[in-house]
Symmetry: C2
């Protein structure tokens, strides 16, 4: 009934191999075969845990990447957004950005994977900002009734630039975006 338990070290080795390979050869150069080879396990062992290389990367990223999200409290919505976005953008410059873009590429071609990505990663980030909005609303800074739309306004430009021009995600861009979102949030919807 129970059987032999899975080796946790193997989990770690697989995720590590996926990240390393992506860093070195790009997501293009990442393959299930390569992951198995580098982590020193058989393909079967990888396929037992993940159905695709996308799921491996997603798991690796969801694990340690955004556990250390700051949830700043500067006293104003604009300040909070600036702080959060600056930190988030900075985190997208290295391997992290490459992995995020890879996930987007995967999601685009696989509806089920898109749902998984949304749940495991995107929804989490949205929740952070939703919290900032709630605090702003309590302070009377947010009159706009549609949180979902405001969240799109925050993360839309980020993904847009992340996909097509990651270098544009500077602190200045974060500040400008934060300012604009705060402005829209302050207004009611006519």
């Amino acid at each position: 009934m129970t059987g032999r338990p899975r080796d946790p070290a193997v989990d770690e080795a697989i995720r590590r191999a996926a990240v390393d390979l992506t860093e070195q050869h790009g997501y293009r150069g990442l393959s299930m075969e390569g992951i198995a080879a580098l982590s020193g396990v058989s393909k079967q062992t990888v396929y037992r845990r993940y159905r695709s290389k996308g799921e491996v990367v997603l798991d690796a990223l969801a694990g340690y990447a955004f556990t250390h999200l700051p949830t700043p409290d500067t006293g104003s919505l604009r300040g909070d957004l600036t702080a959060l976005l600056t930190a988030t953008f900075a985190g997208q410059q290295g391997v992290n950005g490459t992995l995020n873009r890879a996930l987007a590429a995967e999601a685009v071609q696989d509806q089920a994977f898109a749902a998984l990505l949304w749940e495991k990663l995107i929804a989490v980030r949205r929740e952070s900002v939703r919290e900032l909005l709630a605090r702003g609303r309590a302070r009377g800074e947010v009159a706009h009734p549609d949180d979902e739309f405001l969240l799109d306004l925050v993360y839309g430009p980020m993904w847009y630039r992340l996909l097509f021009d990651p270098a544009a995600l500077t602190p200045a861009y974060a500040a400008e975006l934060a300012r604009s979102v705060a402005l829209v949030a302050a207004g009611t919807r006519p």
Copy 2:
């Protein structure tokens, strides 16, 4: 020097095959082999014209998809944006949306292709909106100095939803986005 000229009918057949295959089997199911087979030419003939399936799709899309972009003139920036975005969003619901998402997936993994996509498709769309902004500026509706940022505010949310949840691109969403962009555009940057 001259040699045998390329058959224009072959060009058309290749693009058509790529679109049809993507429509039927998704971008996942699209391959250079499949394109060659369906269009009734050899792989070599396809590779002579395009280096990847992404380039085929890009060429097919750049050709006929956005030649009929409306450049509305309703008298206000908000009205113009609403009209343009409503039309654009509507055009992203069918195969067109699938093809656009496919291009994004390709761009993410290939820097050169990203540049090509930007030039052939994205820059064109940005130019349309830039025109609307210029007209708005002439009318005194636009005080914000950074057109590039405003363009990101327009297209960022669109791509974000196009990637993760295409069904969200409704006329109501277009109107809301247009309203927000107009609001930000009206303010100066402090």
